[in-house]
């Protein structure tokens, strides 16, 4: 195996000249509370007119729900989202029981059931928000189910079989969560990421530059990657070049030789899980001046990328594509993002033989900024089926350890990460969970008009201003930290010392709908 070479040897001279100083981002957890005034809560605390302002509730509450600001006569609105609900009854710090005047009531928030859907349950959204706020696993008292959603299949029916006592006692610091992205041994850099996930491709156009930069900065902090998506490479992204993947998708929007040369990984997007067999969609409303300029397209028209690459109609054509990128950027690793047709295993092996380093399979239930509803639901298989299929086929072909298998399309939590890896992936790509960390409620309104009403997936300057880069970065760093903690916890309980050793360990899991015998 050829030794790693320094950047000076690897980078073409002109790239070195245009290279900008790389920015460092601390991997520090700091509180990043919601940017909204009223956080959505699972329980509501109601203070009746019986309240005599005795202050007892403030004294007993262990979660700082009741606030009485100095200088104010009355108690403020209870901080509902901090309340752990009626289960507090079992403790001696239940305000409802302790209130001498019987002024307090706690009940489930009727709005709680409005939030979320089958895949992203309200618990999952609130737990992700909590993680993004605190950087830690939500306290058990809140009883959030952040392990599964309510989709009734796939990851939501798989469970780890945790032994009562782990077979090997492992300290959290001993657990290795890194993933090697170049397994080919072809002399290109052996890039390792610190966590077994990186950020999915979201173009400028589908999301705001604040969102893109927040993602990039979090990727720097965790020594992992983020992806440009199909909309070109923002100049403001350049201080994070070493943690960016340039995506080359079928529309080739904003792809230039220069943007390919900047980065350590280049990704071919052949298809996307949410709209497999169709090209990227950016509806006209979101094609603003800035977007059209970056994409070198006409302002205000809908930009539909073709499907497929019309220059690629065979694995040999694919190889030609890869050779082209490898030639333009001598240090780049190649990732091939495909969706999950019935013969995804053949595609993966074909792609490996064409010279790719990373096979990225994106399952049918993946996220998107805009996709036809009919495509989201009906085309291509969910990722849970595809991972094992590809993993086993690569192994049978004897190339499993020569290629990195990355799965995406419905990875919502650290548990999903662990399950995907146990099914056979080396790592995962996440997208929607990052958006949720930034405050997404999954209202599905990213595609048209001014875009995301929450200011995440929008290019409207006024809406994008709802979020600041520092806050966004911190939310993502916090979520990443919490996920890593959960993941390390899973590995500890299973007695598996590293993510690499978890790969393909289907024996550590069970499926609730099967006999498991």
């Amino acid at each position: 195996m050829a030794p790693e070479r320094s950047l000076e040897q690897l980078l073409p001279e002109k790239t070195l000249k245009t290279r900008v100083p790389q920015e460092h981002v601390e991997r520090l957890v700091r509180p990043a509370p919601s940017r909204y005034r009223n956080e959505i809560a699972k329980y509501l605390v109601h203070r009746g007119p019986e309240c005599k302002r005795c202050g007892k509730c403030g004294e007993v509450c262990a979660h700082e729900v009741h606030v009485h600001l100095p200088g104010y006569k009355y108690y403020g609105e209870p901080r509902h989202h901090l309340c752990i609900g009626p289960s507090c009854e079992n403790t001696d710090r239940y305000c409802v029981a302790q209130c001498p005047n019987g002024a307090l009531q706690v009940r489930e928030n009727p709005m709680y059931s409005v939030l979320g859907d089958c895949r992203w349950s309200s618990d999952l959204i609130l737990a992700t928000w909590k993680m993004a706020e605190t950087g830690d696993v939500p306290p058990a008292a809140y009883d959030y189910n952040y392990e599964t959603g309510n989709s009734g299949g796939g990851f939501d029916k798989l469970r780890f079989k945790f032994p009562k006592e782990p077979p090997v006692k492992l300290d959290a610091s001993e657990i290795d969560t890194t993933v090697l992205l170049n397994k080919r041994g072809d002399g290109r850099p052996k890039i390792k990421i610190d966590v077994p996930w990186y950020g999915g491709g979201m173009s400028f156009g589908s999301v705001s530059n604040v969102t893109q930069l927040s993602k990039a900065r979090a990727a720097v902090a965790f020594n992992t990657f983020t992806c440009t998506g199909e909309g070109g490479y923002m100049e403001r992204m350049r201080p994070y070049d070493d943690h960016v993947i340039t995506q080359v998708a079928t529309g080739l929007f904003g792809v230039r030789e220069e943007t390919i040369q900047r980065v350590p990984i280049v990704e071919f997007k052949y298809a996307q899980g949410a709209k497999p067999g169709l090209g990227g969609h950016l509806l006209g409303d979101k094609n603003t001046i800035a977007v059209s300029r970056m994409r070198e397209a006409v302002l205000g028209i809908s930009l539909f990328s073709p499907f497929p690459f019309h220059s690629v109609y065979s694995i040999e054509d694919h190889m030609k594509h890869i050779d082209w990128i490898k030639h333009v950027n001598r240090r780049a690793l190649i990732s091939t993002k495909v969706s999950t047709p019935t013969d995804v295993d053949m595609v993966a092996v074909g792609s490996y033989s064409a010279g790719t380093h990373i096979v990225h399979i994106d399952g049918g239930y993946g996220g998107t900024g805009a996709a036809p509803d009919i495509a989201k639901k009906n085309i291509a298989m969910p990722i849970e089926y595809a991972i094992g299929k590809v993993h086993q086929f690569l192994a049978a072909e004897g190339v499993r350890d020569k290629v990195t298998l990355i799965a995406s399309g419905g990875i919502r939590s650290a548990y999903d990460v662990a399950k995907a890896i146990a099914l056979g992936a080396d790592g995962v790509v996440i997208g929607t969970s990052e958006m949720v960390a930034l405050g997404c409620v999954r209202c599905s309104r990213c595609e048209s008009g001014r875009g995301c009403p929450r200011g995440i997936a929008t290019t409207d300057p006024e809406l994008a201003a709802k979020m600041e880069i520092d806050w966004g970065t911190q939310r993502l760093i916090n979520m990443y930290s919490a996920w890593r903690k959960v993941l390390v916890g899973i590995l500890q309980r299973l007695g598996v010392p590293s993510v690499a050793e978890l790969r393909g360990r289907t024996d550590l899991m069970m499926h609730l709908d099967y006999t498991n015998s």
């Binding site: 005034r37 009223n38 959505i40 609105e77 709005m111 409005v114 089958c118 895949r119 989709s151 079928t250 052949y270 298809a271 709209k275 067999g277 169709l278 090209g279 073709p306 497929p308 019309h310 065979s314 694995i315 054509d317 694919h318 495909v338 969706s339 047709p341 019935t342 013969d343 595609v347 074909g350 792609s351 805009a370 996709a371 036809p372 509803d373 009919i374 495509a375 989201k376 639901k377 009906n378 085309i379 291509a380 969910p382 849970e384 089926y385 094992g388 997404c440 409620v441 209202c443 990213c446 595609e447 048209s448 009403p453 929450r454 069970m510 499926h511 709908d513 099967y514 006999t515 498991n516």
Partner: protein, 461 residues
């Protein structure tokens, strides 16, 4: 280049106030009049428009129904007074099969004629009943036979109804008549629970506008004689005879199944040799066997199998779904030989455009629908279309051009979505899609291949 099939559409806004999924519940008692919700929180300007809504009384509900459910106002309200809830009226739409989201998306397509596009990933369950337990396939980089989004103009959705010859001979065959349809869709008779005579002329015009065929009761007389090519009369044993001169102008006719179908077909052919005769077979327990049996008769050209409105087997305690029944019929016909010689139309439970593609993959040549077109007219599927009851969609005084526009829009949207799916599958012809289960993945099979191998026997049906 030959002329392409194209349906002319234009937006047809609803007559009734929209029924949205979300509604804002708003307790004004303690409002601080800060106008956060008006000026900042709601990017859709719903609060700003509120005054206008109130001014034009009767439209007040629109404020609630246009809510997109983004929670911004709820979370930004200075005093935390606003709440979001699911509209109970929305939840009451439809029934257990025709779920509220099906009704809502059908309304949207009937209004805009567009393919519904939204952001964020799929929100629904992992898999489900009937057609939800299968996925269509897509073409990927290693497969050469496909045509992408730019190749759509080359995708043909046309199908032929009638008997096809197994082979041609040199000494000049008498070719049996064929009816060519531009898309694999026929409008079925209205369901008994939703019989509305005033809708029939609308259906007739919508069929003519889209170039497809509508099945009509034998008593029906079209408003325009030239529409007879877009009408197929259904002749049940007790229906009156259709005058021969009318029958001669139609291309397709459907008869009820019965003991003397062969004679019936011959009699119809004597009146109009170029007519294609379809036999309607109800999918009861005996229906599947009967459909297979009919396919073996030399005079039979086309079989129309019909399940109930929810796609279920009729009169069965544990009904099978249309998908399974179709696959059984299709496979049996292949085994017997001669599947290519007859045409199989399937109806019942086709609620969404993907059902059209999926039913074809399962073995139908084309599908028939009725309820989606009724829903296009803003029907709630409350199934109380009787004189004396109040129709929530006010279908008793439906505007003619509104009805035709909405139905045409819906059919156009379905056609576009079929092309979308076929484009993704890499299929250029709807005819070739028939029975091509290789272009689909089935839940049971994927489960077995993935989890069955690892975790034993599946315990859940």
């Amino acid at each position: 280049m030959p002329e392409k099939y194209h349906i002319k559409t234009k937006p047809v806004p609803p007559r009734r106030p929209r029924i949205g999924k979300h509604g804002v519940v708003d307790w004004r008692e303690d409002c601080a009049r800060c106008h956060n919700c008006v000026k900042k929180a709601c990017v859709y300007d719903r609060y700003r428009q509120e005054a206008d809504y109130i001014r034009s009384m009767g439209e007040v509900e629109a404020l609630f129904f246009d809510c997109m459910g983004c929670f911004s106002c709820v979370q930004d309200c200075t005093k935390g007074l606003l709440r979001l809830s699911i509209n109970p009226e929305y939840e009451r739409l439809g029934n257990r099969y025709w779920k509220p989201d099906i009704i809502k998306t059908t309304w949207l397509q009937a209004e805009t004629a567009k393919i519904p596009v939204s952001g964020a990933g799929y929100r629904g369950p992992f898999s489900g009943h009937g057609f939800d337990a299968m996925w269509t396939d897509m073409s990927e980089i290693v497969r050469p036979t496909r045509d992408g989004i730019h190749g759509r103009e080359y995708i043909s959705t046309s199908v032929d109804i009638g008997r096809k010859l197994p082979f041609l001979t040199q000494n000049g065959n008498q070719l049996p008549p064929l009816v060519s349809l531009p898309m694999p869709l026929i409008i079925d008779l209205s369901s008994p629970a939703h019989t509305l005579p005033q809708v029939d002329p609308i259906v007739e015009h919508a069929a003519a506008a889209t170039g497809i065929i509508a099945l009509m009761d034998a008593r029906y007389r079209p408003a325009k004689a030239e529409h007879l090519t877009n009408i197929a009369f259904y002749l049940s044993p007790d229906s009156p005879a259709v005058p021969d001169e009318l029958l001669r102008k139609t291309r397709l006719v459907e008869i009820a199944d019965g003991p003397a179908v062969a004679e019936r077909i011959q009699a119809l052919k004597r009146i109009h040799p170029e007519i294609v005769v379809a036999i309607r077979v109800e999918l009861t327990n005996a229906g599947i066997g009967r459909a297979i049996e009919l396919a073996g008769l030399p005079d039979v050209e086309t079989i129309h199998v019909v399940a109930d409105a929810n796609g279920d087997e009729l009169n069965a305690s544990q009904p099978r779904f249309l998908k399974e029944m179709l696959r059984q019929i299709h496979t049996a016909l292949i085994e017997k030989g001669g599947r290519d010689e007859i045409t199989l139309m399937a109806g019942g439970g086709i609620a969404l455009p993907e059902h059209m593609a999926k039913a074809i993959i399962c073995g139908a040549d084309l599908v028939t629908i009725n309820l989606p077109l009724l829903i296009a007219l803003e029907c709630h599927l409350c199934a109380s279309c009787k004189p004396g009851t109040t129709c929530p969609a006010k279908l008793e005084n439906i505007d003619f051009s509104f009805g035709v526009g909405r139905m045409t829009n819906l059919i156009a949207a379905w056609h576009d979505q079929l092309i979308e799916l076929m484009g993704a599958m890499g299929m250029r012809e709807a005819r070739r899609l028939r029975g091509d289960v290789g272009r689909a993945m089935f839940f049971e099979q994927l489960e077995e291949e993935t989890f069955g191998k690892l975790y034993g026997t599946r315990t859940k049906p």
